[in-house]
Amino acid sequence: DTAVSQTPKYLVTQMGNDKSIKCEQNLGHDTMYWYKQDSKKFLKIMFSYNNKELIINETVPNRFSPKSPDKAHLNLHINSLELGDSAVYFCASSQALGQGTGELFFGEGSRLTVL
């Protein structure tokens, strides 16, 4: 029944490693997002995909590479992890322009800790 689901919920890893976070939505939405919430609870958009195509890339380092195999999935791969990457990463989805209320539906978040 979960609308937007992310895995894993928790991820602890060493600096320099490569890791991925997966996101899936079963709402039939066309648009998916990745947001980063830092230790101060600031919530900042990283990427947005519409129907598998990248539409927003907010000056995120190249070490972050989103991949959307289909419109229900948006995965986030991070290379060469740094301490500053420690944060909670939220996936979200919304309906296409003109088809909804503009509401974002969020996943539960994936807490990444880089040691």
Binding site: T101, G102, L104
Partner: protein, 111 residues
């Protein structure tokens, strides 16, 4: 550029007291404003939108274009209102929606 400002990081009120969470925005076009809430150990969820003009869980928010504000208000705070509140501004660019969030205000309702 669009910007959302929430000046208070933390707002503590006593149960039964009125609550006002401030939000100011900067955007040259016609904005869509939202309030999202994150309860402890739960996901972010929409609380209300300015265009629906509704009251949710006793909360209301009025868009004031002159003051570019969208403050969230509730006349009597309840303990269960304790949460993180984010004001958000949505705009459409190139046919797609971009939502910018404020820095959030933690509301703490003291019993």
């Amino acid at each position: 550029a669009q910007r959302v400002t929430q000046p208070e990081k933390l707002l503590s009120v006593f149960k039964g007291a009125p609550v006002e969470l401030k939000c100011n925005y900067s955007y040259s076009g016609s904005p869509e404003l939202f309030w999202y809430v994150q309860y402890s150990r739960q996901r972010l969820q929409l609380l209300l939108r300015h265009i629906s003009r509704e009251s949710i869980k006793g909360f209301t928010a009025d868009l004031n274009k002159g003051e570019t504000s969208f403050h969230l208000k509730k006349p009597f705070a309840q303990e269960e209102d304790s949460a993180m509140y984010y004001c958000a501004l949505g705009r459409y660019s190139g046919g797609y929606q971009k939502v910018t969030f404020g820095t959030g205000t933690k509301l703490q309702v003291i019993p």
